[in-house]
Subunit: 319 residues, 2 copies
């Protein structure tokens, strides 16, 4: 959430000469996204995002992300594709980093979605899944069900219990339960896997963009709906479940993409998995980020609360 | 250089209803300026900067900054004035902070100024000083000559010598020299006091904006030229003096605002003072910022190098 690599205006000016995008009028480093360096550029032609990829994004994954965004964009989904230079190249090098010039999308991320927003989100997710039905590139989900146990072990029981007494046991029991019941025959597809409200742009209560595809991967498709549900349907701290938001999201999704019986049956479990995945990554970051660092640590408790809600309310998706 | 206070899009939307500026289309937290939280907003009408003032800016100083920017703007200087709400108010409250909505200026900050840039900078500084000749509000320079000894004491000799062996003695000797020779009868006026290239926006080799007036204050007017000189006429690390940039800056300034004989005589000393001021504040920040903090610590050595250059080249301003 900061600018890690400082790029001078002169370097950006030179960089832009590779493209047909006009000349630089304004540049601001922006505090946004996963751990990349992002600049908002305005040129004589248009606005763009310049992203330099730092440690969290493996440059080897960029071709997958680029193909995914191109595919979605070609199918009418509102996503920000990378821009090709005059030679057709989309992956550039800048200041020793892999870098892409990216289409800028207007819109703002809402913090407290309404049912109108949630319905629009569900529809956009369904549209995206439909568009991706014939997308055949694959990327392993490095944070999938198979990796959660290792992540819990990296946190360590003592450290987990420091976050919340009994957390280590709660996680161990949930891992056992998920291992026993995780579905292995549901349709798999390319998914976004991180559709929190900050990764969705809205204008006049309509979706104007889905962004930040750097966790996108191949996994159980309905798991994407489960992640989005966990991300949208609770108060930020996870203590309040918003039933109407939940219904609007699921109904919106089902109106554009069919949920099979097998998926509907599995969704409560997938949602437990989604809550556990964010609980684990937040716990890991919590343990490994100094309390006085400028990066805001996100509270793992917020997803323990969601996990407990899903454990005790298996009927959430039965609408 | 980060966003310290997170403001939701909904809060910014509500905030904007106080003004006649249209509705929100895009908002990005930007990594810029002194320790404030800054957002770049685009509305249906125009672009704006929203600044929330954090610990480094005393809200009691805002009326001075606002009056200064209004005065400069009324006199045709390219600066970003604060925008009044429908009731004429410019200082707002948002998320428990004083906040201002500010005019957005296009342009980019150059990292390696050319002589064309330096001449334009000199002229703009002269224009600014002329415009401020009849500005009568005052603000004490909290980082003026009188405060440098205390700042050195807060750093402590042991810590200073850790930055560079012998630094404590070098600073003590310079403080003695400046105390003995500091001019007390030069014209005083409102000055910017921090006109580094990052605080200057350029478009097509012309100045499009002077920004970040949060160190502006009342002090020896020629000291502003000395600060600007120290900021523009060296390589970033202070090891190379750029004579042609220096000449262009001074000539540009003198073409729009007269340098008196007394000022020209004092400039070598004022430049030593300017170098010491940034050496001291950088040393203080170096000592008080953890090495692993996300905030980039600026190297004090870069201004020790400048100080040594000014000490050994008293003829720099004799053009």
């Amino acid at each position: 959430m900061a600018v890690y690599t400082q790029v001078s205006a002169e370097e950006i000016d030179r960089f832009l000469t590779r493209f047909d995008v006009g000349t630089l009028v304004s540049v601001k480093g922006i505090a946004e996204g996963v751990e990349n360096s992002n600049y908002l550029l305005e040129t004589t032609q248009d606005k763009y995002i310049l992203t330099l990829y730092e440690k969290r994004v493996d440059p080897a994954d960029l071709p997958f992300f680029i193909a995914l965004l191109d595919h979605l964009s070609a199918h009418g989904c509102l996503v920000p594709p990378m821009i090709a230079d005059r030679e057709g190249k989309k992956i550039q090098q800048l200041c020793g980093r892999s870098a892409c010039l990216i289409t800028f999308l207007s819109g703002v991320s809402v913090s407290s979605p309404t049912t109108t927003h949630a319905a629009a989100m569900g529809e956009a997710l369904g549209d995206m899944h439909r568009a991706l039905a014939d997308f055949d590139q694959e990327r392993r989900n490095v944070l999938d069900h198979d990796g959660w146990r290792a992540l819990a072990e990296q946190c360590g029981p003592a450290q987990l219990d420091k976050i919340a007494p009994g957390l280590a046991t709660a996680i161990a029991q949930e891992l056992d339960y998920l291992d026993e019941h995780w579905p292995h025959d549901l349709p798999r597809a390319a998914i976004h896997a991180d559709l929190f409200p900050d990764n969705v742009l809205m204008l006049d209560d309509k979706i104007s963009g889905l962004i930040d595809f750097y966790f996108s991967c191949t996994d159980v498709r309905a798991y994407d709906l489960a992640v989005t549900h966990a991300a949208w349907c609770f108060s930020e701290d996870g203590t309040d479940f918003h039933d109407k938001i939940s219904q609007a999201l699921i109904t919106g999704y089902a109106s554009t993409f069919p949920i099979s019986d097998a998926e509907r049956k599995a969704l409560p479990l997938l949602a437990r998995g989604a809550a556990l995945r964010f609980l684990l990554t937040r716990a890991y970051d919590w343990i490994n980020t100094p309390a006085d660092a400028l990066v805001t640590r996100k509270d793992p408790q917020a997803f323990l609360n969601r996990l407990e809600y899903y454990q005790t309310h298996p009927d959430v998706f039965a609408i």
